[in-house]
């Protein structure tokens, strides 16, 4: 089979899984829905490997393969096809997406076992994977937009999966609204591209762009900035990041899959995919890189102060995507995508471990209430530490090689790009610190009640209530319910986490400077026209960077050890000493409050004003007069008049007066 046939099959299996679960939920017994969902994604992964093999079979210059299934719309001034582009970049992405998704489906088979929305969960999850694969395989901008919107919709559905929980539905809506802002940016970028270049098709557009535009021409910058709106909304970069921490209201495997490993990296993919535009608009690329840098530092500081376990990891995700955005924006494409891959491994692992921990704590997510869990759950403690080591960039792990390659590239590029190297290392220090803040707070110290209970074999089950607000809940569908599952007891969860722990440690061997540059060489087929791709730093410079990075990671881990293990009172003392800064960080730099005051409240106020004043006073006022006038004329007539006919007539005339006035002004 050709590579593109495999590409279509990669899309077909998750879609089939979605349809089976969506329509067959009534007859699926027990865990069948979960296994069907997992199998569908697993088959997609096998086909992705097939696509990889077929692409590797081609010469480097001929690895961009397209295939059209049908013509979507073709008319004067419009030519859209349903086509996919199978090239090294998209193959790389489908491998990560389907691979990590398979493991997360596997984990969910056990984790969601006692939730009564089991089949619905897997239907949503399969639909998400289908959409995500469509997003990365799309061969033109319209199909990209379709995937982009579907992914946002799936994310909304999964965040609000516990649809009777108030905080979850609110978080879902917030995510959806911000995602739609991104969709709008992307739609307009696509139309500007179409207007300038006359096509939606990737390859056509990318080949035509360099001839059509001058460097930094206004319209290219506009296109890039619109693309960035789309990318930043999806990837939760400043200032559109506020939805991601709230998205943690969804089930934990959803956080692992969508809000860590796959969907949120779509923005990085988009910037990498449209690199010809960004190389034509270096200004836009620089803006993007600086926003990435600001985000990575901002989110890392938030992760230092937040106490909700999943939200710490969420801020860490925002921060790590900041690194990727910096990478693909400054031209370190291979490094950026390498980091995307290793991040997918260790972040999914961290979330899965967090899910296991939260289960052991009977739903509690506050790390202040955790401690001493390492004896109660040895496996989770080991794999979560592995995840934290990879996140911190501990020498030898996947995160070590990938993060430092971005920073080394920035240092090598010259000019002001050293800022990214310095900022990146500062971020890395913070990262190592907060990563081990989690580990030390959760697994070290005195065992809490739940931990000692678990050591005696009793898994805690609490009263059903919302851990965020304390609202009481029931155990019916639409709420998480009482029962929980931990990795130590459920084989599928154990398997998935073990596999990811392995990848988090050894994923880095794919690209060790000077030894093998597998990803570099492979992705090159998608960046043949790039002027920046070949600018590798020397191997010596790479290793210098790695040495600095490793030192920084060790310092960060040591600092965390000192604060949280060696001298347990240090943290509280620091908080007392820097209360203002701590409050500022705990409130996440007041972004939510700012949006609330500047956007949300005024909108509501305007709506209320329109409703109260315009509707009530103006229209009703007219009506009262009218009703008084016609009172006593007859039931039917009064019925009609009370519906404000005269008010409408007045508006009709008023509207016409405005139009007439306009035309009179035009004529004179």
């Amino acid at each position: 089979m050709s590579a593109t046939t495999y590409g279509w099959l990669v899309l077909a299996f998750p879609l089939a899984g979605f349809l089976i679960n969506a329509f067959g939920w009534r007859v699926l017994p027990g865990r069948a829905a979960g296994w069907i969902g997992t199998a569908a994604i697993g088959l997609a992964f096998l086909n992705a490997i097939g696509a990889l093999v077929m692409v590797l079979d081609k010469p480097v210059a001929g690895r961009e393969l397209t295939s059209t299934l049908w013509t979507y719309a073709s008319a004067a001034g419009l030519d859209i096809k349903v086509n996919i582009l199978v090239d090294p970049l998209s193959v790389f992405m489908i491998l990560i997406v389907s691979g990590v998704s398979t493991l997360i489906h596997l984990y969910s088979v056990a984790y969601l076992d006692s939730d009564r929305g089991y089949a619905r969960y897997f239907a949503y999850l399969n639909f998400f994977v289908f959409s995500m694969l469509l997003l990365v395989l799309a061969g033109n901008f319209v199909l990209l937009i379709v995937g982009w919107a579907f992914v946002g919709f799936a994310s909304y559905a999964l965040i609000s999966f516990w649809y009777r929980r108030n905080t979850a539905t609110k978080a879902g809506m917030k995510a959806f609204v911000i995602n739609v802002i991104g969709d709008v940016g992307l739609v307009f970028a696509a139309f500007f591209i179409f207007r300038e270049l006359g096509s939606f098709d990737y390859l056509t557009v990318f080949h035509a762009a360099p001839q059509h535009f001058a460097t930094n021409q206004g319209v290219v910058i506009a296109i890039c900035l619109l693309l960035l709106v789309g990318a930043f909304a999806k990837s939760a970069q400043l200032p559109l990041h506020t939805w991601l921490p709230d998205a943690m209201e969804g089930p934990t495997p959803v956080s692992a899959l969508i809000h860590a490993a796959t969907m949120v990296t779509a923005g990085v993919y988009l910037i990498g995919r449209t690199y010809p535009f960004f190389e034509l608009a270096p200004t836009a690329a620089d803006i993007s890189a600086f926003i990435g840098l600001a985000t990575l530092l901002f989110a890392a500081t938030c992760a230092l102060a937040v106490t909700d376990l999943k939200r710490i990891i969420a801020y860490s995700t925002i921060s790590q995507i900041g690194y990727m955005v910096v990478g693909v924006s400054i031209g370190a494409y291979a490094a950026g995508f390498f980091h995307l891959m290793s991040h997918a491994f260790f972040k999914a692992l961290l979330f899965m471990s967090a899910g296991s921990v939260i289960s052991a704590m009977a739903g509690t997510q506050d790390i202040d209430r955790m401690g001493g869990l390492r004896r109660a759950m040895p496996f989770t403690a080991v794999v979560m530490t592995i995840g934290a080591l990879a996140l911190a960039g501990f020498p030898g792990t996947a995160g070590f090689f990938s993060k430092d390659e971005i920073l080394a590239f920035a240092a090598h590029r010259g000019g002001f790009y050293w800022i990214f190297t310095v900022g990146g290392y500062i971020g890395a220090l913070l990262t190592a610190f907060y990563a081990f803040r989690i580990i030390f707070r959760v697994f070290w110290g005195e065992p809490v009640a739940e931990a000692s209970e678990l050591e005696h074999g009793h898994l805690a089950h609490s009263e059903p209530e919302n851990p965020m607000t304390g609202e009481t809940e029931d155990t019916d569908v639409g709420f998480p319910g009482q029962e929980h599952h931990i990795a130590e007891r459920d084989r599928p969860m154990w398997l998935a986490m073990a596999a990811l722990a392995f990848l988090s440690i050894f994923g880095g061997v794919l690209q060790i400077p000077g030894l093998d540059d597998v990803i570099d060489k492979f992705l090159h087929g998608s960046f043949l026209d790039s002027t920046l791709y070949e600018r590798f730093p020397s191997i010596a410079a790479d290793w210098e960077g790695l040495a600095v990075g490793g030192t920084v990671a060790l310092i960060g881990i040591a600092a965390a050890y000192r604060v949280y293990v060696a001298r347990p009172g240090t943290s509280a003392a620091l908080i007392r000493r820097f209360r203002a800064i701590h409050t500022f960080l705990v409130n996440r730099w007041y972004f939510d409050q700012l949006y609330d005051a500047v956007v949300y409240r005024p909108t509501i106020a305007v709506g209320r004003f329109a409703n109260d004043v315009v509707e009530r006073v103006v229209v009703q006022g007219i009506v009262v007069v009218v009703v008084d006038v016609v009172r006593g004329v007859g039931v039917v007539v009064r019925g009609a008049q009370s519906g404000f006919v005269r008010a409408y007539a007045l508006l009709l005339i008023g509207g016409f007066a405005a139009l007439g006035l306009y035309f009179l002004i035009v004529s004179s």
Binding site: W25, W70, Y72, A73, S74, A75, A76, G77, L78, R116, G117, R120, V146, A149, F150, A157, S160, F161, Y163, R164, N166, T169, G172, F176, V177, V180, I181, V187, F188, F191, F194, R195, E473, D474, D476, V477, G478, F479, G607, A610, V635, V636, G639, A640, G643, V645, Y648, A649, L651, L652, G654, G655, F656, L659, G660, Y662, F663, V666, S667, S668
Partner: protein
Amino acid sequence: MTFHAPHIDYAGLSPVIALTAGICAVLVGGVFSARRQRLVVSVLSLTTVAVAAGLCIWQWGEREDLVAGALRLDELGLAGALIAILAAAVVIPLSWREPAAERPGSEPRHGEFQALLLSSVLGMVLLAQAQNLVVLFVSLELLSVPLYVLCGSAVRRTQSLESGLKYLIVGSLGSATLLYGLAFIYGGSGSTDFTTIRDAVGSGLTDDPLVLIGIALAATGLAFKISIAPFHQWTPDVYEGAPTPVTAFMAVATKAAAFCVFVRFFEVALGPAVDNWQPALAVLAAVSIVVGNIGALGQSSLKRLLGYSGVAQAGYMLVGIVCASALGVNALVFYLAAYTLMNLAAFAVIVVRERESGYGDGIKAFEGLGRDRPDLAWPLTIAMLALAGLPATAGFMGKLYLIEAAVDADYTWLGVAIAIGTMISLAYYLRVVAAVWMRPAAEPLAPEGAGMPAMAGGSPEADPLPSLAAATAAPRPGTRCLAILVPAWLMAGATIFFGVLPSPLVDWASHAGGALTPFLA
């Protein structure tokens, strides 16, 4: 002076002739009494619309003037006619059990009901082809007068009477405004024929106050018919009060025909004055998008909600006219067709649900539909998602097409307005979807402590409430309405089909734009 009868191309006029003959036959069919009447009349009307549709398709591709230029036979007019005919064909089965046409214990009135409906279709077919001020006005009245009657046809319901009367009064005002405007244009240009007016306006009348006042008045009158804000105020009231099949018909067919003549009048007759009317219509479109979407947010009646949503959708479609390009007309015609499919699906569900639940067309009536009546829930869900413009539905392609036309015509800000309007609209369309799929929390008979209400979304796995389960088991009137379910599913299926594979519809719509190409930049 001798009178020369104009040459009449009977082939081109054949849809009009077929409809006229059909109306007479249907009226006569009304003499049958009681149970037989519905069958006879419906067979006659459905045959009529089928023949008329067939003749329209037969004439597809012809481009010529009919009856001394009074009518223009081209794809744009035929597209409008076909949409109106499709709407009528769907509405006829919807009306079968409607109290307006058949109330237990009294003489059925299918003959009158369907004859009026067909008369309105005839008006629409003529309007979509009108190429003369007089024909424009006469066919607009032919379209409107039967609708006034139909809105009030549920005579036992005051709301319906109110709706009919209200539509009559405000509608007459709109017609009067339009007529006044047409008079000004005639006065300024000295002709009632679109092409002659075009020549006259082109030769130095673009800034003539008389003509411009006429344009303003005519735009007001037409904007009234297609519910463009601020001339939309009647829409939610009349939509809510009228019998639902009539509302469905008004919502889609009137809009289609009126938009066709709007396009023809502005792009052909007033084409040379494009620089003057373009900004004004652009503002109207934007105002409509804002007013319609904001207005729909707080509605609790689904018909009112769809009324406001119709105002917003009319705003989107007006963008197609503002563009003044073939692409704009294509996008408009495509959107009209998509809009027809999605709205008919939604209204068909409302018709059924209105009869079997105690909540009328309130959103409450649709709660729990997902587990209760999936055969009704799916078409409604598809319609709502399509109206919201979700990918893989016709609504997505329609919006994409309109935005592209707007960007192409340098009206990017209007494209942005469409996008923002779409964002706002998600709030109320998704609210309906949520109501459909969440468990019926508002059931008055729900036992105490039946559980937490759903916030949004829902799940088919939820337990049925005991009271509801009992209610589901009992047979309810109108529960097995194949006559309504089949059209609802057809429309919903077509919405999805043209979302996944829109190219046939795009081709079809681009013929309509092609018909006006000589007049467009």
